[in-house]
């Protein structure tokens, strides 16, 4: 009977394993193809460009990964925060408006942006923790509202920035490494340690893994989930600086691509983890890979609209794989 049961079990298990690795396999194949089709992709200057391009996505991914860790990675009912890119663009709009149109100091502009981000975080936390809304719906709604406010502030127009701090983040380097990448690396390190190497982070993971188990163990689950949304909003504020630097100002509509890349990168990151769960470092790695794809497609001359289509399909594959793996495990 043992032999029989193993025989009947084995194919299902290995199929689930293939499904959970599918995004990774597809990405590796795409990367190999790009490396062959665009040989200059692996040159140091291109790699430096790729890393620089990836910074805004990396930073918003830090926020999303934190929320998913605390809310669980169930694709529908788990933790998700779709409003981080909108928060980033809102903060970018606030900073650009203050610096260029009102002549405010950098400190004041940044403080105002952080206040706006915290307000977004509080709204999300209230909607999810106290009202009990699904994070997917709550943050979709707050995201739309944030984009609306941004349009009001910027009159839906592009605002250029020539503040030296933003220019430094855009062009500066320390020992040949772009300053944006170095600053981002510091934030990555902080989030990685906080989520994966501290007591607070372990408890955050426990809440995401099983809220009931965490509560039985005396962990204050609601507080941690609320904190994760606050951190996500702060990540949005941090990302805004890099969004401004990359675009030399604030541009309406730039949240769309950021949202796409953030979701793709974070759930792709789960495929890197041996436990197949969303992690901060996995999301960062995912963000860099997504950036490699974007730059790679551009350098071999793929139409930008096709790039969007390919990324959309990849999101479907990544999320479908996560949903299927979750189903196979339950």
């Amino acid at each position: 009977m043992n032999v029989a049961s193993e025989l009947t079990k084995e194919p299902a298990l290995s199929f689930a394993r293939v499904m959970s690795s599918a995004p990774l396999i597809i990405f590796v194949v795409l990367l190999i193809y790009l490396a062959i089709a665009a040989p200059n992709l692996l040159e140091p200057s291109t790699i430096s460009l790729i890393l620089k391009q990836s910074v805004p996505t990396v930073i918003v991914c830090l926020g999303l990964a934190t929320v998913v860790v605390a809310g669980g990675d169930d694709v529908v009912s788990g933790g998700i925060d779709l409003s981080i890119p909108a928060t980033a663009v809102l903060c970018a709009g606030v900073i650009a408006d203050q610096l260029t149109n009102h002549g405010s100091s950098l400190f004041f502009a940044l403080a105002l942006a952080i206040a706006a981000a915290l307000a977004m975080g509080i709204v999300n936390a209230l909607l999810v923790v106290f009202i009990g809304m699904t994070p997917l719906l709550a943050t979709l709604a707050s995201s739309v509202a944030a984009v609306g406010i941004t349009k009001v502030i910027t009159s839906s127009r592009r605002i250029n920035i020539d503040h030296p701090f933003i220019i430094y983040i855009r062009d500066g380097d320390i020992g040949g490494v772009p300053s944006a990448v170095l600053v981002a690396a510091v934030f990555v390190l902080i989030f990685c340690i906080a989520v994966h190497r501290t007591r607070w982070g372990m408890q955050l993971q426990a809440v995401g893994g099983s809220r009931e188990a965490a509560e039985v163990s005396g962990i204050k689950a609601s507080r941690l989930v609320a904190q994760s949304f606050m951190l996500a909003a702060i990540a949005g504020a941090l990302a805004s600086v890099f969004v401004l630097a990359r675009g030399s100002g604030s541009t309406p509509g730039s949240e769309e691509n950021l949202l796409l890349e953030m979701v793709l990168a974070t759930f792709l990151g789960a495929a890197f983890s041996p436990r197949r769960i969303v992690t901060v470092w996995g999301a960062v790695l995912g963000a860099v890979l997504v950036s490699v794809l974007s730059v790679g497609f551009k350098s071999i001359g793929v139409d930008v609209f096709w790039t969007g289509c390919i990324k959309g399909s990849l999101i479907l594959i990544v999320v479908a794989s996560a949903a299927y793996t979750g189903k196979a495990q339950s």
């Binding site: 009947t8 007591r199 408890q203 893994g209 099983s210 163990s217 005396g218």
Partner: protein, 507 residues
């Protein structure tokens, strides 16, 4: 002169009332230091209420509680925890992708100079599991790769790792385990006893109670009816007598029709997880009962018979023809229907009218060109609902506002409207008042009398004996008895369900 006994826990004269129910009535529970104390009683006897009073979930109306000689006036979860009381809940509360060490230290993580002290937590978890629970697993192992028994031990380790536990309460610790795995948990529990920890062991499995416990308190209807200090392997009969103490009354209609030909048969049916090698035979004109505790595989078997899950081995046949039931729709198409245990969520669309709920499964018969004929549909629903006396007598009433018994009758009426031959009823009278119960029992007898095969799965032994022609008993995934109801009595059925063997004396 006798020496005073040393009690770790003394609960005296505990009373607790809920609106309309006296859940505990001057109940006593005393646990000697260093002993394993069994707590038994039927569902609703007050076991979980007194445990929740001790846990600080409920506040007692009267009575005194003292832990380790210290009287405690206001019981709060924190106060009992500080007094060294730990609860091992029935649910495991584990995260599948956590490691053993992460699970053991959940909520009480150790910190070193640089963040988490992962290595130290791994070593301490491994040492504790090995030395205190007799279990050799690595701290880095992922929970989802463990056996159910190992998971239970990890849960126990989490409660006891701080070495402050004096009294541990186990609530049905072996419920999710297969019979071979219980021994591993027992060994761990005996090891804890050697280390001087006192325990309360709550279980429906009386075989386990007699094997493990030094003393047993029996609850019935919220009162302590017996404290038994002479527990040996033959004590099961005496425990059952103390638990029950009542007779089967005349709730049940006469079983007049004699069973006919075999209709619905399963051969060697297994899902390789919760039930194994089930040979079930339901005959025309017969009510077949399935008995078994929660976790005996009874629910999973029912799901499989109805196509809600697919078996890994064995086959199901109707009138000699083998069926492949991949979905409930396959079952219904073959005339096999289910009245689910959770009627409010699985059985009814609560915001639809009674008539719409009745017609849900047989719309084709009241339709022309796939369009429902409202008039004919209403008329038929009204006829059916009058036939089985659904109240209020208004087929347009919204189902949500009906009583439990009448809602159950709506589900039954739906299947009466179809030409079905096999009726599977899962806990058909849970939450139904006595009057409606009698009517549902009569309906079930009528179904059988009209030539259908009826299968009733129930956790109420009395109901099975009163209602069924034949009863099949499941214990830890296997059929341990398949007997004519006439050859069984309450004690024997309870013994079969709770211990897997008919130890009770037939009287």
């Amino acid at each position: 002169m006798t020496l005073p006994v040393d009690y770790i826990l003394e609960m005296q004269n505990i009373s607790k009332a809920f609106p309309g129910v006296q859940a505990l009535d001057k109940t006593d529970l005393r646990v000697r230091r260093g002993s394993i104390h069994g707590l038994v009683g039927e569902n609703g006897a007050g076991k979980s209420t007194i445990i929740k009073v001790l846990a600080g979930v409920y506040t007692r109306d009267e009575g005194s509680v003292s832990i380790d000689g210290q009287a405690i006036d206001t019981i709060t979860p924190i106060a009992v925890h500080d007094a060294g009381v730990r609860f091992i809940h029935q649910e495991l509360h584990l995260v599948p992708h956590f490691t053993v060490a992460e699970s053991v230290f959940m909520g009480q993580e150790l910190q070193g100079m640089l963040g988490l002290a992962s290595r130290r937590m791994q070593q301490r978890a491994e040492t504790f599991l090995r030395e205190s629970l007799n279990c050799d697993i690595k701290g880095k192992t992922l929970i989802r790769t463990l056996s159910p028994a190992e998971k239970k031990l990890v849960q126990i380790a989490r409660a006891l790792i701080d070495d402050q536990a004096k009294l541990v309460i186990f609530d049905e610790p072996t419920a999710p385990l297969a019979s071979g795995e219980t021994e591993q948990v027992f060994k761990a529990i005996r090891r804890l006893k050697e280390r001087g920890i006192s325990m309360i062991y709550v279980s429906h499995y009386l075989g386990e109670i007699t094997e493990l416990c030094d003393e047993v308190t029996v609850f019935r209807n919220g009162s302590t009816v017996a404290v038994m200090t002479d527990i040996d392997e033959h004590a099961t009969d005496r425990i059952i007598h103390n638990m029950v103490g009542r007779d089967i009354d005349a709730l049940y209609p006469a079983k007049t029709v004699s069973p006919g030909q075999p209709l619905f048969i399963s051969s060697s049916l297994s899902d390789n997880k919760r039930f194994f090698d089930i040979n079930l035979q339901a005959n025309r004109g017969e009510v077949l009962g399935i008995a078994g505790l929660i976790g005996s595989g009874r629910e999973e078997l029912i799901d499989t018979l109805y196509g809600l899950s697919v078996p890994t081995q064995g086959s199901i046949a109707l009138e000699g023809k083998t069926l492949r039931l991949n979905t409930p729709a396959d079952a219904v198409a073959n005339g096999i229907v289910l009245v689910p245990r959770d009627r409010r969520n699985d059985g009814l669309v609560l915001d639809m009218s009674v008539a719409d709920n009745i017609n849900l499964a047989s719309l084709d018969e009241v339709a022309i060109a796939r369009m429902e004929k409202r008039g004919a549909a209403q008329k038929r629903a009204t006829r059916l609902s009058d036939q089985i006396d659904i109240r209020p007598r208004n087929a347009k009433a919204i189902t949500r506002f009906l009583s439990g018994g009448n809602q159950q009758k709506v589900v039954l009426a739906r299947w009466l409207a179809t030409q079905s031959s096999v009726f599977i009823l899962d806990e058909p009278t849970v939450g139904v008042d006595i009057g409606a119960k009698v009517e549902i029992y009569q309906l079930i007898q009528n179904l059988a009398a009209n030539g259908a095969a009826v299968i009733v799965s129930s956790s109420d032994p009395q109901e099975l004996l009163g209602l069924c022609h034949r009863v099949m008993v499941m214990y830890r995934g296997q059929v341990v008895a398949d007997e004519q109801a006439l050859n069984l009595n309450f004690d024997a059925l309870l013994a079969l369900s709770t211990a897997g063997v008919a130890t009770a004396v037939t009287s």
